[in-house]
Symmetry: C2
Subunit: 532 residues, 2 copies
């Protein structure tokens, strides 16, 4: 998720060095593997869409004269460091070799002219480099980490006397996921869902680096909204608990004004918190800690980090009016989904209810009955306000904001929070599934929460059908990993103004591995057969 | 000099490992110094010409948002490695910094759009890099060596949330010239000639690297035509004899088909000879060895390398017809000057006469009277042929080629060879100075030989006036070093189709330091006063 908008005024940072030492202590060396291209492709535009067409020729050293290119296909998504050997053909090289290196997760990133990019976020994320090589032959090791499947090398210029020869192209991948520790998916998964599980696990693997990154191409950072979903998937797949602990301690290790947990963290050259604050994201520190505690029973971490979690509740209360209803501030204050038209009030109210319940459970675990009681009463007050001011008994939907907007996000978070009882929840979800909502969900992140709502209401068949439909459409689109953004009705559009800048391996999309491992066996054999 | 044309067919190389070991043994570590910019400038186009306008502001850290630039002026020509520090201003950097780094010896290289280059030699020589910096703050050390005075840094993109801050810009220069060993120019030089001497010495210094390079921006190679002039200047300035020895052994260490000395050498990643063969350049091995022997009296080097020198004479004889006159082959066979319209026959005949006389002297030094005798008779035969077929007793000029072309190059080489006696030589030169010649000299290299002809005929005043005129015009043009190419009547044109690609520090232009040190004291006090 790229924050391109407002930041906190008079931003300050609070450092907790003990927590940062803990975070550093949970850092583990990355795992590496060497991989080579499986072939070469050429990119062709068919309609509005760039496609990779295999050249079906053996991987021989490739000679390039001025303006000529070769595009390698690594066969799957890779995150790592690229190297290759350059030689020369013809006369001795009498001028440097000037090369353009383009890397793309998807064909459009290779096919489109990078210079034509005029999207809303920084063009510096586009994976295109220009290098001069003064002496040939040369072993070229690109110093930056890339996320890609396709690697194009173009000889911008050599000289009339020689051509450059490219060979020994390879990638040293990096991840903090131990594929040997991967917990298997259910053995009776139908192939289509197995494929989605594989893609989700690959997405997860490629986003697991020194921290849980949102996307290894962009923004390559620890966002707490992404962390929450990643940690949930991680518990059921790679089980890398150190990485979760590390990330929890990072968020608690540097907080913003008033002790607020930031939306995202930077870890290089030193750990700092970004100046972006989001209402829901701060509260997700509670959720992340709650999930971790439930998974591990680790009392020490709980005791260390609970004060930070409770602080997020206290700060969030400041946004309540006398009725216990959230008052929407100006600007970019709550994420929920990547949609400027979305009223965030009801969704935020839902997230607050959700987190308040989790915080009460943490207080219980710590034996702090007084706090637990307060948090439960807060939760009740929030639910009451939602019932009184947001629930529309005629429309039978929750409304949000001064215009009374009805959206997926508002319904989903009210359901996940437990504000809606199961009967109402199933009714809402059934009508949403049948009739849809004008305000479409834009991110797989929001779709993930929609599926969680279905599953938690016991609508397993509907949940898996939805997964097969939405994530399945990404697989049909040719996804090697699940995307940051995907609209099945318009797969080639970007909220940033250019597909080139989209992240095509984005952790908040890896939910299928969670749903499959957690809910597949809730299905009857007959239901399983119907999903096959 | 950039060879963009033909090469030898069925090219082979002959390695003499003992000579290459000698060459390696004479290699010395380069000398380094740190230097910083003296200020910042902006480039402005005035008419057809880019000029650097000083900003007259102190050298503070410079903040750059998307699309913004800063151009540093290092105050003089530099050859070395650039480094700088990058920091950030605003929010934490949430996207890589994408920078363009342009380096220029002259303002036009900064001002012109590199992408517009469509000249005849490789655009890969243009000193423009694009880099991504993922983590800020960062100490950036550019890995390639550049030749420049101006360094422009542009923030291609940062992000809407931060700006990049540039500071601590510096350059670690490299040279194999020991400025502490520089032999001083005559103390009574007038300021204008002193300035030319300074520029020539600076040109020399910046071209003295691991070998004598033609130009540190382009082509960064050891060419024997340039070596000959550089060694001559070196004897009178820095006196780095190891570097001359190293270069002689390199040329003899790898020769072309039949033992021909190549026009230029590559030294990285291993020593090889280029596949370019030029008649005059091969013969200049004789001249380089002759000059070295005269300078040092080093019998061991003479004995080792004389066979290679004599071989060049033998190979050159193959181009003679029965009359002892050179027959012009097709293609790019003899350089003389950077001019496609120039008939090379007479100039080549002159170079052959010149080298044959020097070879005879080397044979004498080795006590090889038989060879010396043969070489003298060869020289006589070449002179006789020139006299009979090339000298035009009516026009009182030497002619060249089937069209009987009259050029500076033909006259100059006949004079330098000794084929014309002093009276005829002075007459020719006087008329050339008075009337000019339609076929203009294009390179400072050719102008250098013209001045040598004047000086060797005792026309010292004319010689220094010529130096003050031609090289002085380069100084007036704002030269920090002397250029590869310069036409005072049209200073902003390039034979390559773009000024951007010209080399503005080129060793074959450093003759003034030679002329001044060798001939200044031949002037009478009155002549000196007239030149002031």
């Amino acid at each position: 998720m790229a924050d391109i908008r407002n930041s906190i005024e008079n931003f300050t940072m609070n450092f907790n060095e003990a927590f940062l030492e803990k975070a550093e202590g949970y850092r583990r060396p990355l795992r590496s593997a060497l991989c080579a291209p499986v072939g070469t492709v050429r990119m062709e535009k068919r309609g509005d869409r760039w496609e990779a067409v295999a050249e079906n020729s053996p991987l021989l050293p490739r000679e390039l004269g001025k303006g000529e290119s070769v595009c390698y296909d690594f066969g799957d998504h890779r995150v790592g460091f690229v190297s290759f050997t350059l030689e020369s053909a013809g006369s001795p090289p009498d001028a440097p070799a000037h090369l353009r290196i383009k890397l793309g997760e998807r064909p459009c990133e290779i096919g489109e002219d990078t210079a034509s990019y005029s999207g809303s976020i920084s063009s510096s994320w586009l994976q295109e480099e220009f290098i001069h090589v003064d002496v040939l032959p040369a072993a070229v090791s690109m110093p930056r980490r890339y996320a890609f499947r396709y690697l194009e090398i173009t000889a911008v210029d050599t000289s009339p006397k020689y051509r450059v020869v490219v060979k020994d192209v390879e990638c040293r991948t990096v991840t903090s996921a131990d594929t040997g520790a991967l917990k298997p998916a259910p053995s009776d998964l139908p192939p289509r869902l197995k494929r989605l599980d594989d893609i989700a696990v690959k997405t997860m693997e490629d986003c697991m680096q020194d921290v849980f990154e949102d996307g290894p191409k962009r923004d390559r950072r620890l966002w707490i909204g992404d962390l929450r979903l990643q940690a949930q998937v991680n518990y059921l797949t790679f089980g890398n608990l150190d990485l979760v602990r590390r990330c929890l301690y990072l968020f608690a290790g540097v907080t913003q004004n008033e002790g607020s947990v930031g939306a995202c963290m930077f870890t290089e050259p030193r750990v700092i918190v970004d100046d972006t604050r989001l209402f829901d994201y701060s509260l997700f520190f509670v959720s992340c800690l709650y999930d971790y505690w439930r998974e591990t029973g680790d009392r020490e971490t709980l005791a260390n980090l609970a004060p930070t979690a409770f602080r997020q509740i206290e700060l969030s209360e400041k946004l309540l009016d006398d009725n216990g209803l959230i008052v929407e501030p100006e600007g970019w204050w709550c994420f929920l989904d990547w949609n400027d038209d979305l009223s965030k009030q009801a969704g935020a109210q839902g997230v607050f209810i959700y987190a308040a319940g989790q915080a009460a459970a943490l207080a219980d675990a710590l034996g702090d009955g007084e706090r637990a009681g307060y948090l439960r009463s807060l939760r009740d007050r929030l639910i009451a306000a939602a019932e009184r001011f947001l629930w529309d008994g005629d429309a039978l939907f929750y409304r949000s904001g001064k215009d009374g907007q009805i959206s997926y996000a508002s319904q989903v978070w009210m359901i996940l929070s437990g504000a809606a009882d199961r009967e109402r929840a199933r009714d809402i979800l059934t009508r949403l599934l049948r009739n849809g909502n004008d305000l479409k969900m834009t991110t797989p992140y929001m779709h993930d929460h929609f599926v969680k709502a279905l599953m938690e209401c016991g609508m397993y068949c509907e949940g898996f059908e939805y997964v097969a439909g939405y994530w399945g459409a990404m697989a049909d689109d040719g996804a090697d990993c699940f995307y940051e953004i995907f609209d099945p009705e318009s797969p080639d559009t970007s909220p940033y103004g250019s597909m080139m800048i989209n992240s095509f391996c984005h952790a908040w999309s890896c939910g299928p591995a969670y749903f499959i491992r957690k809910y597949w066996d809730r299905l009857t054999p007959r239901q399983k057969a119907e999903l096959a």
